[in-house]
């Protein structure tokens, strides 16, 4: 990386800076003329004589001449402003592109860090460096050369003008500058040091915050909250202190400049006045000089600001890159090599005399050597203190040894590309880290781009593919067309999914993923084949349920001409479910179109009255309950602090009628009514008559439902994206008043799906399950098994498994047998602290 900011700027944006400079210089003439023309208008056009004069070689009378000059002035103003705008945009773009380039380079280095680099610099510190500390660099880079040139040039023009009027006064005008040029850098140095301290403090604060968040449960369990609050409070105080000191110095500089500058007129009036009295210069000249001197203040201030800003930015750049300039980084070629698809590693594992330094609590490893052949199982036996884990990591190519080599099939594991090594070596640990995303993405991680949305996001502005590629090229960033990491094509994906499902089955995750598939909302982009399958199975399941008395007793199927007592009124009336998974009908109730549609169907009044009944019953029931009773607030349809409000509206509805309420009030009561599910909520009774009217109204409301973005209509021959696959298969609601209905319905669905042979389709669909951040939606055992499947999917030549034999010996033996079954020709290296475990598995080596 370039060592200083200006080297970086020059190396990568020299051309742009020159263009900016050129545009800046183009604006000088316009600026000059916009100062000269007003003088001409006054002197020549208004108070001039001797017309017609020619302007631009056209003879004009006085008034036309005046107008011509005025329009010329207007033209200068327009040109000036247009150039300024273009300049600003261009400097902005240049700066932002450079920022992107810089940030990408830093992040690429991050990827190349060896694991031990992260011991010194945690993610909590890296994040503020990359996000906030670097941000201002973008804005500065664009104007880094143009601003001083522009302001400096303007300054020189004015000074030149003053010197031309009178050299002595000119000298007086610039007399203060050398003094300021000496003092200000000295003060600025101090500010630089303070800013460094401030950055350090912010990074430390970042670390503290990170701890508070990641160790939140530990902190609360052991009453550490106050300690952490004290720590961050002190950090914030130190932050305040350092910022205060910076403010004092920064504004001292500005004060100095301001004071000295305003001191000059004292000399002007004194010396200049004397000279005028003595007749050495004219009064007009003195006035002109004073005016020009006032104009000097602007550019000088801008230069001063620029200087302060520049010093700060230069320091910031250096402070940012110093954290990313490590000796122990992988080569760029190792991370992003051209992909050699045919290179498949296999062969002997030869460990040649590797040595590792000891870490805290473990011994160093000295000159360890071993050879293993394909199909062999080798067990390294040693306790945690023998450095066994580090040794296994080194053998697996994860950590570079101090000396010695590890070769697989003749190739040095530590010198080969990441891709090649990942394909050849599988490292299985008890804790498998998962990435936020689907199960599929985690299993196929590393094979290619599984989910295009990850690398082609939506955003604002110009999102065309060509622009995206162009911007990536000119900022030396990554792009799918520039890097050899492919989008996974459909065939390969299907192939890999098939293999992954087999592996999941071997390691006992098949049932779990099948259930995930059943529970997953189908979503708008479910594959067509799956949709057809679901509809076919749905028909069978519904027929089964209708024919079986016991089953019909457990589940209320949705039928167009029947009221469904197990579902809410909202679902019954609109014969639809909310588009958003798990949403209620509150939004629909608030939609004025819904109110209109319901009024047209003749149901609105009754529903509002029903809602009023609910509100009054609830307020009545909870009349004596204390406000902070949490259990009761879970049962209440309305939040307890709104009881009065609802009560008032409800009483009004009951006495004056629903029509007398404002639509917002009607909506509130309507929402209550729509939430009622007759078999679950017995607080109000839904008469048979109302049920019939509701069923009849479904047809009238259909057009509203079709047009509404909030609802999906229920139909026997289409799928409902908002519902889970399982709910789509049944298209009904389980009876809330029958115990065990949920389990029985789930069992029915599972059994029928298996009978119909769609289990594998559903399991494949289950791969779209979102595992959550860090795999939070899976249990540790599930995560471990997914890790196994992912590792073995690559068909590695070398499999390393550490930490076995510590718990259940039988389980671990089974595990190794399964692994061996999946990879019969691989070299299996096992690490354990149990000597007896090792003895049965294969060749043992004691550490």
């Amino acid at each position: 990386m370039e060592k200083t900011l200006f080297r970086f700027i020059w190396r990568f944006s020299a051309r742009e800076q020159i263009i900016i400079l050129f545009i800046t210089c183009c604006s000088f003439p316009a600026l000059y003329y916009s100062l000269v023309i007003p003088k001409n208008i006054v002197n020549e056009a208004i108070s001039g004589t001797d017309f017609p004069r020619s302007y631009l070689w056209i003879p004009l009378d006085q008034v036309p001449y005046l107008l011509a000059l005025c329009f010329a002035l207007l033209a200068m103003v327009v040109i000036n402003n247009a150039l300024r705008y273009i300049l600003n945009i261009y400097t902005g773009i240049t700066g932002e592109r450079m920022l992107r380039r810089l940030l990408y380079e830093l992040l690429e280095r991050l990827v190349r860090f060896q694991p031990k680099c992260f011991r010194r610099l945690s993610s909590a510190e890296i994040i503020p460096i990359i996000t906030s500390e670097s941000e201002q660099l973008g804005g500065f880079i664009g104007e880094s050369i143009a601003t001083p040139v522009y302001q400096g040039g303007t300054l020189l023009v004015y000074i030149g003008f003053i010197l031309i009027q009178d050299p002595v006064l000119g000298a007086a005008a610039i007399a203060s500058y050398p003094l300021q040029a000496y003092l200000i850098p000295k003060l600025q140095k101090r500010v630089v040091r303070l800013n460094r301290a401030r950055s350090k403090n912010i990074r430390a604060l970042s670390r503290d915050i990170n701890e508070m968040v990641t160790a939140a449960s530990e902190m609360h369990a052991r009453a550490g909250s106050q300690l952490h609050l004290l720590t961050v409070s002190e950090r914030l105080y130190q932050n305040f202190r350092v910022r205060y000191e910076i403010y004092k110095r920064r504004f001292l500089i500005k004060l100095l400049d301001s004071f000295i500058s305003q001191l000059a007129p004292f000399f002007f009036y004194a010396i200049g006045g004397y000279m005028v009295i003595q007749g050495q210069i004219s009064l007009g000249s003195l006035v002109a000089v004073l005016a020009a001197y006032t104009d000097l203040a602007g550019p000088w201030r801008e230069l001063l600001n620029y200087y302060q800003h520049m010093v700060e930015m230069v320091m910031r750049y250096e402070s940012v890159i110093e954290h990313f300039d490590h000796k122990e980084m992988s080569e760029r070629d190792q991370i992003m090599p051209p992909l050699d698809k045919n290179a498949v590693l296999s062969g002997e594992l030869v460990v040649e005399s590797i040595s590792l330094e000891g870490e805290a609590g473990t011994d160093p490893v000295n000159a360890f050597s071993v050879v293993a052949h394909p199909g062999e199982t080798m067990v390294l036996v040693g306790s945690e203190t023998t450095g066994r884990s580090a040794l296994l990591r080194a053998i697996g190519g994860l950590e570079e040894p101090l000396s010695g080599k590890v070769r697989l099939g003749g190739d040095d594991l530590h010198r080969m590309s990441e891709m090649a090594r990942a394909q050849a070596v599988a490292f299985i640990a008890k804790t498998h880290h998962m990435f936020a995303g689907t199960l599929r993405a985690n299993l196929l991680y590393g094979f290619g781009i599984v989910e295009p949305e990850m690398v082609l996001m939506t955003g604002v502005g110009d999102q065309r593919p060509a622009t995206r590629l162009h911007e990536a090229k000119i900022t030396a960033s990554a792009h799918p067309d520039l890097i050899d990491f492919p989008f996974l094509d459909a065939d390969r994906r299907t192939d890999l999914e098939h293999k992954a499902l087999q592996l999941l089955d071997i390691f006992g995750l098949s049932d779990d993923v099948y259930q995930m598939g059943l529970d997953l909302p189908l979503g708008a982009d479910a594959p067509d084949a799956l949709r057809q399958t679901i509809l076919a199975v749905r028909a069978k399941i519904r027929a089964l349920i209708a024919a079986d008395d016991q089953l019909s007793d457990l589940i209320d199927l949705w039928q167009k001409d029947r009221f469904n007592r197990s579902a809410s009124l909202g679902e019954n009336i609109f014969f639809a479910v909310p588009v958003q998974v798990g949403a209620d009908f509150n939004q629909v109730a608030g939609d004025t179109l819904a109110l209109k549609a319901l009024a047209k169907a003749g149901l609105l009044q009754d529903l509002v009255i029903l809602g009023a009944d609910v509100a009054l019953s609830i307020t009545d029931l909870f009349a004596d309950v204390s406000g902070d009773n949490t259990l009761l607030s879970a049962y209440s349809f309305m939040p307890i602090d709104e009881f009065e409000d609802y009560g008032r509206i409800a009483r009004r509805a009951k006495t004056a009628g629903a029509a007398k309420l404002r639509s917002a009030q009607q909506a509130k009561l309507l929402a209550l009514a729509l939430a009622i599910s007759p078999l679950r909520h017995r607080i109000v009774k839904i008469s048979g008559q109302l049920e019939e009217r509701i069923v009849k109204a479904r047809g009238l409301l259909r057009s509203f439902v079709d047009a509404s973005p909030l609802l999906t209509p229920i139909e026997e021959d289409t799928i409902l994206p908002a519902l889970s696959l399982s709910a789509n298969l049944v298209l009904g609601r389980r009876r809330p008043d029958r115990r065990g209905s949920l389990e029985k319905v789930n069992q029915l669905v599972r059994d029928v799906a298996e009978d119909q042979g769609v289990r594998s389709d559903i399991t494949r669909f289950g791969l779209s399950f979102n595992v959550g951040s860090g795999g939070a939606n899976l249990s540790p055992v599930q995560r471990f098994r997914v890790g196994l499947a992912s590792s073995l999917l690559r068909e590695p030549a070398l499999i390393i498994c550490d930490g076995l034999g510590a718990g259940s010996l039988k389980q671990d033996k089974d595990l190794l047998e399964k692994i061996r079954f999946c990879a019969p020709n691989a070299i299996l290296v096992v690490g354990t602290s149990e000597p007896s475990f090792g003895a049965e598995m294969g060749r043992t080596i004691d550490l």
């Binding site: 016991q550 007793d553 009944d613 019953s617 029931l621 909870f622 009349a623 004596d624 309950v625 204390s626 009773n629 259990l631 009761l632 049962y635 679950r680 017995r682 607080i683 109000v684 009774k685 009876r735 809330p736 008043d737 029958r738 115990r739």
Partner: protein, 159 residues
């Protein structure tokens, strides 16, 4: 309100009769009303449970496990309360309850009931008095049974 029939039913039970109607309404609101078909098991002997079952309609058989197999110890009619002890204390079910006919049952959870007791202490008082009265009656019965057993043993020894 459609909870009224349930409240009326609760008031006819010995356990709940002293508790005020408004509190009973709240309890009914928080409880589920569930259907059991004839022959279905409501709860199993030995299971841990924290709910009481109040029979709104239908009949239930109380079945205990014996060395000779399951034995129907009693049949409970409409308006009976089963499992209230398990609801109050953390003990396993003392018997299996099976629906003799189709039943409508109100399921009262410990959480709901305790919440009610917390909120309205007079409910707690009434429950305590009820349980104390039961205990007194049971103690009396036990004393009587013991004396009968003693006299039978004496008679057997003398014979």
């Amino acid at each position: 309100m459609s909870l009224d029939p349930e409240v009326e039913a609760l008031r006819q039970s010995a356990f709940f009769q002293d508790i005020g109607a408004s509190h009973l309404k709240l309890l009914a609101f928080m409880s589920d009303s569930v259907v059991y078909r004839s022959g279905e098991t409501v709860c199993e002997q030995g299971d841990r449970g924290d709910t009481a079952f109040f029979i709104l309609d239908g009949m239930a058989d109380i079945v205990v496990k014996t060395d000779q197999g399951p034995l129907v110890a009693a049949s409970l009619p409409k308006l009976s309360l089963v499992g209230e002890i398990a609801m109050l204390c953390d003990i396993p079910r003392t018997a299996t309850v099976i629906a003799k006919t189709d039943m409508q049952v109100m399921i009262i959870t410990r959480e709901a009931f305790f919440n009610l007791m917390n909120e309205f202490p007079d409910v707690s008082m009434k429950v305590i008095r009820l349980l104390a009265a039961r205990l007194a009656a049971t103690t009396q019965d036990l004393a009587q049974s013991r004396s009968e057993v003693a006299s039978l043993q004496e008679a057997a020894a003398n014979a």
